[in-house]
């Protein structure tokens, strides 16, 4: 597969390490009342969709950026690639 790195352009996916669902960016509040349940869902439950999937890739053999890749799990088509750090920052601001 080819991942169109937001900074570096098209790169072979073999340069990357995969980690899964991009919801891992949304780490729950450890102080929250339901922290135990929230962390269980965060760590273990997945939508695992047959279709578009936002997922985390690490450019291990590249610039060491974590990326959020939107990819179709039926066709492997990739529609969007973002720097995870930008996504994470945006999420924090929106909170």
């Amino acid at each position: 597969m080819i991942i169109d790195h937001p900074l570096l352009g098209p790169r072979d996916s073999s340069e990357f390490t995969y980690m899964g669902d991009a919801r891992l960016l949304e780490r729950p509040d450890p102080e929250g009342a339901d922290a135990a349940a929230a962390f269980y869902e965060y760590a273990y439950l997945r939508d695992n969709p047959a279709g578009w999937h936002r997922e985390l890739w690490f450019h291990e053999a590249g610039d060491r950026s974590w990326l959020v890749v939107t990819r179709n799990t039926m066709t492997h088509e990739i529609s969007c690639v973002e720097l995870a750090r930008d996504v994470a920052r945006a999420q924090r601001q929106s909170k």
Binding site: M1, D12, S13, S14, Y18, M19, G20, D21, A37, Y40, E41, A43, Y44, L45, R46, D47, N48, P49, A50, H53, E55, R71, T73, M74, T75, H76
Partner: protein
């Protein structure tokens, strides 16, 4: 119709006119006691044991395509019970014992071949871990044997022991492990279940569950509603998709695992062998093809196909231990969908919805588990209690911190 050598000869002499379809092609009834969703190995085995061991006759297996078209028909046919953890080993050993009696049980020759499986060891740390595992196997009543490099060399003289980047320092063998003709498992269970009155309904896709006040009443399908006292789901590769119809999220990611077969070759590999310093395992089919595989591609996928890097990784492993394979040709590659669970172990459990049961999360270990999975699922469906060898395969183990993590990779499915 009973299969036998005499029958084969008789038919041969009378123009094969007597052979009848291996299973009927019935219309779905409106109501069953138990409906199994998924006409794969596990679903068909469940139906067989429900009928044969638990006296359940009003059973249907519904399959969206053709039976045996999923992972049971696209795997590397290996059976073994060389597990470490007490939550796993008794279950897989139970499965191996069922394999050992399968042909007589279902009157179908699935060619169970206990040619042995051998895990190569390349470091002291690995030997320590394999020793612990071998002991766990023996303490659970299975067989295990620690082989020296010399022993191994006798069986595999062409193994690369003189120029290996990661020298072979021995191997853990399970002589009762081996291979089975995968398609025949699905067909044999189907034929047996059918002969015991189970309806096998092909080309019938589940489009929803009918759930009324927390109770599952049956399934909506492309061939109409089918009522059921209990619904058991065994749809490896589609677990998350199917259970999402009941608004469930699972501790599962679906990944592609590629497998490979070479051109037909005169016999060279006596048994199943796995490389311990890379991703490669291999056996040779009775037709002569080398059947081999390695690691999953590593990303979520339902595409049933993989990419070159995983193929190359496997072939590099092949050449690392068997440099004589250089001129053997890879004939065909294919991809199956693996429902990778969060601890690498399966789930056989009730759901929070009454009457709805789940069997899945087999990662890439589903084939060898087929008989025990079917038996345990049948037990759960028939008695509403887990089979003694499958008590730990619960949904709530993650919330409670009771993971069954053979590899110690944690909640990252693609590492299991």
């Amino acid at each position: 119709m009973r299969y036998s050598g005499f029958r084969v000869i008789k038919e041969a002499l009378t123009g094969h006119k007597g052979w009848t379809p291996a299973w009927r092609d019935p219309e779905p009834a409106s109501q069953y006691d138990i409906v199994i969703v998924g006409g794969g190995g596990h679903g068909l085995a469940t139906a067989h044991y429900l009928a044969k061991e638990f006296g359940q006759a009003r059973v249907a297996v519904i399959e969206k395509g053709w039976i045996g078209g999923g992972n049971v028909g696209r795997n590397t046919t290996i059976i073994r019970s060389n597990y470490l953890l007490d939550a796993n080993e008794p279950f897989y050993e139970f499965s191996l014992k069922l394999w050992e009696g399968l042909e007589q049980d279902i009157n179908y020759n699935a060619m169970v071949s206990q040619r042995g499986i051998l895990n190569l060891i390349h470091s002291d740390g690995q030997r320590d871990a394999f020793t612990r595992r071998g002991n766990a196997m023996i303490l659970n009543g299975a067989d295990a044997d620690m082989l020296s490099t010399a022993d191994i060399k006798k069986r595999y003289p062409f193994l690369n022991t003189d120029d290996a980047r990661f020298p072979i320092k021995g191997g853990l063998a399970q002589h009762r492990g081996g291979t089975v003709r995968h398609d025949a498992v699905a067909w044999g269970y189907a034929r047996s279940a059918d002969s015991r009155g189970v309806d096998i309904i092909q080309n019938c896709e589940v489009t929803g569950f009918r759930i009324e006040s927390g109770v599952c009443k049956g399934v909506e399908t492309t061939r109409g509603f089918i009522g059921a006292g209990k619904v058991g789901c065994a749809v490896a590769g589609n677990s998350s998709r199917l259970m999402s119809l009941a608004n469930m999220r699972l501790p599962i990611e679906s990944h592609v695992l590629q497998a490979f077969v070479s051109e037909g070759l005169k016999p060279v590999l006596p048994g199943v062998i796995t490389f311990g310093a890379g991703h490669f395992y291999c056996s040779q089919s009775d037709k002569g093809g080398l059947v081999f595989g390695g690691d999953i591609d590593g990303y979520n996928s339902y595409a049933q196909r993989g990419n070159l890097p995983a193929v190359e990784d496997v072939c590099e492993g092949a050449m690392a231990i068997f440099p004589m394979l250089g001129r053997a040709r890879l004939l065909r590659m294919w991809g199956g969908i693996m429902d990778m669970s969060m601890d690498g172990s399966p789930i056989i459990d009730k759901t929070h919805i009454d009457g709805l049961y789940f069997n899945g999360g087999w990662c890439y270990g589903g084939f060898k588990a087929t008989p025990a999975s079917g038996f345990a699922f049948a037990h759960l469906l028939a008695k509403d209690a887990p089979h003694p060898t499958a008590t730990a395969y619960r949904f709530d183990r993650f919330e409670k911190g009771l993971m069954i993590d053979e590899k110690g990779m944690g909640n990252q499915p693609n590492l299991h």
